[in-house]
């Protein structure tokens, strides 16, 4: 879309990538750097506030969100390796700060938020060269990346650039994996039923890796696959893209 390449950008880790998938975060930063972007990683990142927001605790969510917005003062893109957290910061922060003194500042911030693959495709227009062995993967659409943030096939477009990667369609690809943040512990039985079905659908594809944009889905699906001793690997798309484009 835009041809202007911002030479600098902020990276927001998100709590789940920070703690559980740092390699994915690192890979995201490397992909950006390789495309010529100078990445700033401000100290003090915690959580976007979505768990509290979704449970109706907006004052608490606002308290946390305020501290996070303050970490990104310069007019630079803010890039997240998560569709869910990007959706929160882009679409729900303005709602959360509606009528608050910081509303204008927050709206400006929200306007700068991108999900990683979105930024790689729409802003940078990256071209990837596949250096890996032939492999079959499958794709899980994170609900929030797809419906809340509104990704329009950017991750799939990146995967399509890798000529030795076969994308096996996942049955009911658009169905939720059952994570849902607090949902997974407030409704553990239904959540468990959902993730077991998702794991079974993923296994049925015959792929060797399940990819997604979101740490929540990854943690959930990985947990269920590991529980049943499945050899199927679960990986964040950023990490997969980095590995495929760099010979080990």
């Amino acid at each position: 879309m835009t041809a202007v390449r911002p030479p600098r950008a902020y990276f927001y880790a998100t709590c789940l990538v920070d703690l559980f998938f740092p390699d994915a975060g690192m890979a995201g930063i490397q992909l950006l750097r390789e495309a010529g972007v100078t990445v700033a990683f401000p100290e003090g990142q915690t959580c976007c506030g979505q768990p509290a927001f979704n449970c109706g605790y907006w004052e608490e969510a606002r308290d946390v969100a305020r501290t996070q917005v303050a970490l990104f003062p310069e007019d630079l893109p803010v890039i997240l390796p998560s569709g869910s957290c990007a959706g929160m910061m882009k679409n729900h922060y303005p709602e959360l700060f509606h009528g608050q003194p910081e509303e204008a500042e927050v709206r400006a911030f929200s306007g700068r938020v991108y999900e990683l693959t979105q930024f790689l495709v729409e802003v940078l227009g990256v071209q990837l060269k596949d250096l890996g062995e032939p492999i079959k993967v499958t794709w899980h659409s994170s609900c929030h990346a797809m419906r809340d943030l509104g990704l329009k096939g950017e991750p799939q477009a990146l995967l399509a650039q890798l000529d030795k990667v076969e994308l096996a369609p996942l049955a009911r690809e658009h169905e939720c994996c059952g994570f849902g943040g607090t949902f997974s512990v407030r409704q553990p039985e239904v959540s468990g039923a959902m993730v077991c079905d998702k794991a079974a659908d993923a296994e049925a594809t015959g792929a060797s890796v399940v990819l997604s944009t979101d740490g929540g889905c990854l943690l959930n699906v990985k947990g269920a696959l590991d529980q049943k001793g499945s050899p199927l690997k679960v990986q964040h798309i950023a990490e997969f893209l980095w590995e495929r484009t760099h010979a080990r």
Partner: protein, 477 residues
């Protein structure tokens, strides 16, 4: 976490999940409906255009609701339809009973009506010696077993053919056992035909009520709606007060998106436009038609600008067909007249957000419901709003039971979460401990216990991304 009177969705959902037949029946049926709907909307742009138009029609109808209802009453009255207003279900039940008793009616047939389910009309009438027989095949099937609908348009969808075959052979007089669907249908038809002829009155719902013409629209596939409203000498239609539209032209797009979204049909087999009782010189139709308009909490919902969108609903059921939770637990687990995503926002607004707090959390907020809703009701946003209403006392809000779902435990948990997440120094220490000792947390620890029933324990990485970036900058922990 919950008061003893609270209705826990978690418990009933967990119970439902243990029934493999139920899960298989719903999965099969819902997958079929998803496929059929999709086939009706081959062009995404056309679908969006029709959705926007339908949303606009429903929003405009609601915007003018008070005036349209007055207009509807006047037009109906002109047409000879007697209009009655009920604020509560009790009042509506009493109105129906009074109308029936004034005519000496004791046997009635019913077309499908979710509002009558909301009123628990059948049980009420039976307690007054009036037999109310459901004539929609699905409703007839569940009535035989004393059940409630598990889906708003396919009430017996939780049962499969074999279960119905067994049930018919046991409950219908002189019925032989068969698993042939046509034979089963013929059996029900034989019983119902006789009942239509004998009935003193027919009761139906209303899909759309047209304000300027006083027309009641009824969408159905079996012809039982037409029989219920046409054969007996008395017809009583019941509707929620939100069902009104301004003019007949509004009905066409809504009808087009309703049948496509609901059953994946371009049109339904029957579409009835009821515009009054039998006229002078006419040979058929009821001698009297009554319309009962029910509020039951709707005007309170109407008073809130965001929540008003709940009332746009045209009861197609697409939200439940596409819901990953509904698909697995079925409609009965919701313990409510309206199950699935629309029920998740409607029921708490009618019964109170406190007692139904757990139901509000029976969603992963995946957004599939909002995506398919033909009138674009932002169900996930409304769920979040109602979760907030359940735990907070907003003086400006009209929401029933606001603040009554609050618990000290949840309040404390979020305060603690905020205290840690807004203090990066503290958060950093916590993350450091999680990366070094997170693996050592016992699987039986709270929260982890429920997670590990279906998954391995989540183990933090040995070094967080923040820590690695600090190392890169040369500012080691």
């Amino acid at each position: 976490m919950h008061a003893e009177t609270d209705i826990l969705f978690r418990e009933s959902a967990a119970k439902a999940l243990l029934d493999p037949h139920l899960r298989a029946n719903f999965r099969r049926a819902m997958d079929g409906l998803i496929t059929k709907r999709k086939a009706q909307f081959p062009d995404p742009a056309d679908l969006q255009e029709l959705r926007h138009l339908s949303t606009a029609i429903r929003s405009r109808s609601l915007l003018n609701l008070p005036a349209l209802l007055v207009q509807l009453e006047a037009a109906c009255t002109r047409n000879g339809i007697q209009v009655h207003w009920a604020e509560t279900c009790e009042q509506a039940n009493q109105l129906v009973l009074d109308i029936l008793q004034a005519q000496g009616a004791t046997r009635l047939v019913k077309g499908k009506s979710m509002v009558s389910e909301e009123m628990h009309l059948n049980a009420f009438l039976e307690s007054h010696g009036i037999e109310a027989l459901e004539s929609d095949l699905g409703e007839y099937i569940i009535q035989l077993d004393g059940e409630t609908p598990s889906h708003i348009i396919m009430p017996a969808i939780h049962k499969n053919k074999d279960q119905i075959a067994r049930q018919f052979s046991q409950k219908i007089k002189d019925a032989k056992y068969t698993e042939d669907v046509d034979e089963l249908t013929a059996m029900a038809r034989k019983v119902l035909r006789q009942k239509f002829l004998e009935a003193d009155a027919g009761i139906s719902g209303v899909n759309f009520a047209v304000a300027n013409t006083g027309t009641l629209c009824l969408v159905e596939n079996e012809g039982n709606g037409r029989m219920s409203t046409h054969v007996p000498p008395l017809h009583i239609a019941i509707m929620g007060l939100e069902k009104v539209v301004a003019r007949l032209e509004d009905v066409a797009p809504l009808y087009a998106i309703l049948t496509r979204s609901a059953t994946g049909q371009a049109v339904s087999t029957y579409f009835n436009l009821i515009s009054g009782p039998r006229g002078e010189g006419e040979k058929d139709g009821p001698q009297a038609v009554h319309l009962v308009i029910l509020d039951n909490g709707r005007s309170r919902i109407y008073g809130d600008p965001q929540l008003q969108a709940t009332l746009r609903c045209i009861r197609c059921g697409a939200c439940m067909n596409h819901c990953p939770v509904y698909t697995r637990v079925g409609g009965h687990a919701y313990e409510a007249t309206y199950p699935g995503p629309i029920g998740k926002i409607l029921t708490p607004q009618m019964e109170g957000v406190g007692v139904r707090h757990d139901l509000l959390h029976g969603s992963s907020l995946c957004g599939a419901c909002g995506e398919v809703c033909p009138v674009e009701i932002p169900i996930p946003d409304i769920l979040v709003r109602l979760r907030r209403e359940a735990t907070h006392q907003d003086p400006a809000s009209f929401v029933a039971g606001k603040g009554t779902g609050r618990t000290d435990a949840e309040d404390r948990a979020w305060r603690l979460w905020a205290a840690l997440s807004k203090r990066p120094g503290l958060y950093r220490i916590l993350t450091w401990f999680a990366t070094r000792f997170g693996w050592a947390l016992p699987s039986g620890a709270p929260l982890i216990r429920d997670w590990t029933r279906f998954r391995t324990k989540p183990i933090p990485a040995r070094r967080s991304l923040s820590e690695r970036m600090r190392a890169e900058r040369g500012t080691h922990d």
